[in-house]
């Protein structure tokens, strides 16, 4: 095996955020024409490392060389000019501007008295053609699908002549089939001499696309190996530091009566987030998991059942009565809710832990009387939650924002699942992406709580775009696409492939029991 000169060399990079050592003396190289997978759990330091490489952050120590030349820190423009392109997980595109506007920004000297649009368009179409990434330069980005937006993100880097492309969790927003087509594009780019860093926490796709893999754990580089010759189990062990038992499905033992039912529900159209003629029944003692690429109506479904959105057509019932579109009424009736965005929706970050534990039950007689808060009772309740759900990282008076993601999620889950004296226990749990972005320990804790609640007789609706989680926890599974929901069928009747096809909206696949459904 010949040793080509590395295009990128990272040496001893360290970065600390307060207490957290996000990167601990990491050294890496990237060879010409290779795909290097950077594997690690959420919070392992992958994104920090790449943000340093791209100039968003400045490292505390260490240096970077690109094509043999040192890369000055802290400036994305210098990184771009050195040939580094980055495709962020959360797209950085302006919805109100055209594709061409988004792409050409920054590619011309700022003080040029006019912008050469025609040349830019020709160049864009040329690049798009060369890499097989067709786009409409004049489309407004806001009108594009998620897959198309990712294409624009990639083109942005290629247009600027990137020779090194960093892709941060690029498949997180794609259907399995869209991911396949992305992998084909990657192969084409490598064939044209680009080098790629592929960031992921999904073992399967790392094995599938990369030539070499580097594993980060808790800020340290723990392993580096040629992909050929490593196994999924080996990668998993490196990633989490100990052996991992494949999550084993524990199917429900008892399925009870219907708790909540949606009958041909549609909601007002708001971009792509809406429901179209959705029917679904949730029974006591089962977990119904909703798979799908996020942004296909899952938020509308979650909001509907969390009381922050009302249906335009159809009926939603909770225990045979119409479901009220008021969050506080829902909580009183026994609906436990875990929202998708814990920072922006789950907690009020500036308020202390105990007030956040109280916020859903403010009008409960246990915690307030005649408009006055019963502080002692509320604090005692918060203390119970903190203890039972093992919320660490601060006392009751710590601002919720300073909790780590996992502890914040435990607080939210604890608040939802701990009724005060005299209130009904959770009958329906709506959990939207409850484990997103958590470390493995917290993921396991959250999943255990959901299973335990199910076993205690609650109906659980789990909305997740992590297919592994859906398949591990769902007793029944349904798939969302473009606001429509397939029938919820027992997990055994689905395969990864049929779910993938349904996620892409393929009609034939959307009902595995199609013969019967027809």
């Amino acid at each position: 095996m010949t040793e080509p000169a590395p295009v990128l060399r990272i040496r001893n990079i360290s970065k600390r955020f307060g207490e957290l050592l996000a990167n601990d003396a990491i050294s890496l190289t990237l060879d010409s024409g290779e795909v290097l997978a950077l594997l690690g759990e959420n919070g392992a330091g992958k994104s920090t490392l790449m943000s340093i490489l791209f100039g968003h952050y400045v490292a505390d120590a260490g240096d970077i060389e690109v094509f043999g030349k040192p890369l000055p820190p802290g400036n994305p423009r210098i990184a771009l000019n050195a040939g580094i392109g980055m495709v962020h997980q959360h797209f950085t595109l302006a919805d109100n501007l055209s594709v061409l506007d988004n792409i050409v920004l920054g590619s011309e000297p700022l003080w040029q008295p006019f912008s050469n649009r025609r040349a830019a368009r020709t160049k864009l179409l040329d690049v798009a053609h060369r890499f097989g990434l067709p786009v409409d330069p004049d489309a407004r980005v806001g009108t594009l699908s998620v897959g198309e937006r990712q294409r624009v993100e990639i083109l942005k880097a290629l247009y600027r002549g990137a020779r090194i492309l960093i892709l941060d969790e690029p498949t997180a927003v794609l259907t399995p089939q869209e991911s396949e087509s992305l992998f084909a594009t990657l192969a084409q780019m490598v064939a044209q001499g680009l080098s790629i860093i592929f960031i992921s926490h999904k073992l399967g796709e790392v094995l599938r696309v990369s030539d070499r893999v580097a594993v980060l754990r808790a800020g340290k580089l723990v392993a580096e190996a040629a992909t050929k010759g490593v196994t999924q189990a080996q990668l998993a062990q490196w990633m989490v530091g100990h052996g991992v038992d494949a999550a084993e499905r524990q199917p429900t033992r008892v399925r009870g009566g219907s708790v909540c039912a949606l009958e041909r529900v549609s909601t007002a159209r708001r971009g792509r987030e809406y429901l179209r003629d959705v029917s679904l029944a949730l029974h006591a003692g089962e977990i119904v998991a909703i798979a799908g690429v996020s942004g296909n109506g899952q938020a509308a479904l979650a909001n509907l059942l969390c009381g922050t959105l009302s249906a335009e057509h159809g009926s939603v019932t909770l225990l045979d009565a119409p479901l009220p579109a008021e969050p506080d009424r829902l909580v009183q009736l026994g609906v436990a809710r875990v929202p998708e965005d814990r920072h922006a929706v789950g907690v009020v970050g500036d308020l202390p832990v105990w007030e956040n534990a109280l916020s859903e039950r403010l009008s409960s007689p246990a915690f307030s009387r005649g408009g006055w808060i019963r502080g002692t009772a509320a604090r005692a309740h918060a203390q119970t939650i903190v203890k039972r759900f093992d919320v660490r990282g601060g006392g009751l008076t710590t601002a919720a924002r300073s909790l780590s993601g996992g502890n914040m999620q435990k607080l939210i889950l604890g608040r939802a699942l701990t009724p005060p004296a005299g209130a009904v226990a959770a009958k329906l749990i709506v959990a939207h992406q409850p484990t997103w972005g958590l470390d493995i320990g917290a993921v396991a804790f959250v999943q255990q709580q959901l299973v335990a609640a199910r076993d205690a007789g609650a109906a659980v609706l789990l909305i997740s775009d992590d297919l592994d989680e859906v398949m591990a926890l769902g007793d029944r599974i349904a798939v969302m696409h473009a606001g429509a929901l397939t029938e919820a069928l027992p997990a055994e009747q689905w395969t990864r492939e049929t779910i993938g096809l349904a996620m892409a909206g393929s009609h034939a696949a959307s009902t595995p029991g199609a013969e019967r459904a027809a």
């Binding site: 994305p76 210098i78 771009l80 501007l97 506007d101 988004n102 920004l105 006019f114």
Partner: protein
């Protein structure tokens, strides 16, 4: 009723009415375009009211002190730019609340101008005057030949700013920074630099807007002479959907009503106390805001402070 329509006809048929419309519109055009530049870059600039006061005072003081009229306008622009720089430091550099920082700048600029006026003229009762811009009687168009050069400048400014925003790389950078600063940063464009530049330039225009009042419309500096014109500009930008062309239209429409209420007030057969006519501009601004509220597409990052490296 016929009387009213008759007198309305008299008013609209009179060239001097249209002269007044353009004159009233001029400071609004400068101010609105100034606010528009800031907001397109994602920053609400509530300093405008005070910056207009400061521009009016500084421009006038320069001319009173012996400077030429155009030097006065330039000084007004520079003073505006200086307050813009302070605003940018607070709202971009330190990412403070744009509302409070803007109001603070308005208070500061107003207080400094009044203080400066009183220090310069401790004991005067009638405000000292300067010789203002003369009408461009050489201009070959009616109505325009009664205007002063700054009005022409304002009218030229609008297409110029439109060109800048939609046809140049720097304009694209301004718009991108107002829509998605993360994206701009990722493309190698410095959000801080572009926003600062836009605020400074916009504030300079606000300063010029103020100087028009003391160097063209009137010939002296009075307390309370801006009288909410700055706030009206902020409302007009929303009404104009952040587009320079519509901003010009909005300013003209607004000036039309303002000139009309002045005429109706003076026409003698006014049925209402004169104060109700004077309310019209402010009431209209509120109505304009309500009218466009539903379909307004704000710059996505407006009023969202951006701290590099924070999501």
């Amino acid at each position: 009723m016929m009387d009213f329509i008759g007198s309305l006809g008299d008013i609209l048929g009179n060239a001097s009415f249209w002269v007044a419309v353009l004159r009233i519109a001029t400071p609004l055009i400068f101010g609105t375009v100034g606010v528009l530049l800031c907001e397109r870059a994602g920053v609400l600039n509530l300093g405008i009211e005070g910056i207009m006061v400061a521009g009016a005072f500084a421009g006038w003081l320069t001319v009173y002190g012996g400077g030429s009229l155009w030097t006065g306008v330039l000084v007004a622009a520079l003073v505006g730019a200086a307050f813009g720089l302070l605003h940018a430091w607070l709202t971009v550099g330190l990412a403070l609340s744009q509302h409070v920082a803007g109001l603070g700048i308005t208070m500061l600029a107003t207080a400094l101008s009044y203080y400066g006026y009183r220090v310069s003229f401790p004991k005067v009762n009638t405000p000292p005057t300067v010789t203002p811009f003369a009408p461009m009687d050489w201009f070959p168009l009616p109505v325009f030949d009664a205007q002063t050069p700054p009005t022409l400048l304002a009218l030229i400014l609008v297409p110029l700013i439109a060109w800048l925003l939609y046809r140049t790389p720097i304009g694209l950078a301004v718009r991108m920074v107002g829509e998605n600063p993360q994206a701009a940063e990722g493309q190698g464009v410095s959000v801080a630099a572009v926003r600062t530049g836009a605020i400074v330039a916009g504030s300079a225009l606000m300063g010029v807007a103020g100087s028009f009042l003391t160097l063209s419309a009137f010939n002296a500096f009075f307390f309370n002479m801006i009288n909410g014109r700055g706030w009206i500009c902020v409302a007009l930008v929303v009404f104009a959907a952040w587009q320079p062309g519509k901003a010009l239209l909005g300013a003209l429409l607004f000036a039309f009503f303002d000139a009309l209420q002045l005429r109706l007030q003076q026409s003698g057969d006014a049925v209402l106390p004169y104060q109700f006519y004077l309310m019209l501009p402010y009431a209209l601004s509120i109505v304009a805001l309500i009218l466009v509220a539903r379909r307004a597409t704000y710059p996505q990052a407006l009023m969202k402070p951006y701290r590099k490296g924070e999501r």
